[in-house]
Amino acid sequence: MTARVGVVTFPGSLDDGDAARAVRIAGAEPVRLWHGDPDLRGVDAVVLPGGFSYGDYLRCGAIARFAPVMETLVDAARGGLPVLGICNGFQILCEAHLLPGALTRNQHLHFRNRDQVLRIEAAGTAWTNAFQAGQEILIPVKNGEGCYVADAATLDQLEAEGRVVARYVGGNPNGSQRDIAAITNPAGNVVGIMPHPEHAVEALTGPSLDGLGFFTSVLKHLVGAPA
């Protein structure tokens, strides 16, 4: 049976279309979910896409966190549902306290938009098991508020527990502490990533096909997961 992967659209989401396409190219069925509807429609995994949910008013992700869909999603994620937050989705996961730390204004204040090399540090998560630890990949990064910050104890804990999923290589685009580009929760089912794997799934539009691994990973994870 084809896995069904939900993609949530918030007011101001931009990359929901690309995320749904990436899900389809990976071989799953994308299911569009709506911010105002708490029904997850029985999906096997969820992607929170990039964009500027609710205009990013107050703080990025702060208002999206209280959307009806998030109430059910937070419980489901705590119960093991694989959730990938990309860019604004990462910000929402931090605001919802599914992931520690916060994403703040890029240190140099400039919006950064370029192809970025990342090193996969944790290949055991639901969203990165198609990679090898230490593997370098190239995917686009585009953010104004992508600077990952957390207190030193939290950063040490993330490192000690192997929860830094990916780091920036060849230049940190936003000042993120310890070059962190992606992290996961202790169970490894919730991953937040600042760069955009969904923009690197086709030769025509992406700098590589490296982003596809995130979406094929979750399919592999679902096959292995107990029903």
Binding site: L58, R59, A62, I63, F66, C94, E95, P100, G101, A102, T104, R105, N106, Q107, H108, L109, C147, V149, A150, D151, G175
Partner: protein
């Protein structure tokens, strides 16, 4: 009716690039005696009834501030002291 004012500031250990950018612009105004600038956010809340500081604190903790990176203070001011009263 008094108004509740919530001030939200980045924690001291969190870098404030906006404040730094402003501080770096001050010499262009001929200002050379400012050591640092930090930028926060002021939020004014009017309750329908009596102002409730505990409710305001809860609102601030859950939504207005992100306690991971920000501190906040909550206080009452008379409405004629606030910016909104001087259109």
């Amino acid at each position: 009716m008094p108004r509740v004012v919530v001030d939200v500031m980045l924690k001291p250990e969190i870098l404030d690039p906006q404040g730094q950018a402003v501080a770096n612009a001050l010499p262009r105004l001929g200002v050379s005696d400012v050591a640092s600038v930090r930028i926060g956010r002021r939020i004014e809340i009017d309750f329908t009834g009596e102002p409730d500081l505990d409710r305001a604190r809860e609102i601030a903790d859950k939504l207005l501030a992100n306690p991971v990176i920000e501190d906040f203070t909550v206080r009452l001011v008379e409405t004629d002291e606030t910016a909104g009263a001087h259109p």
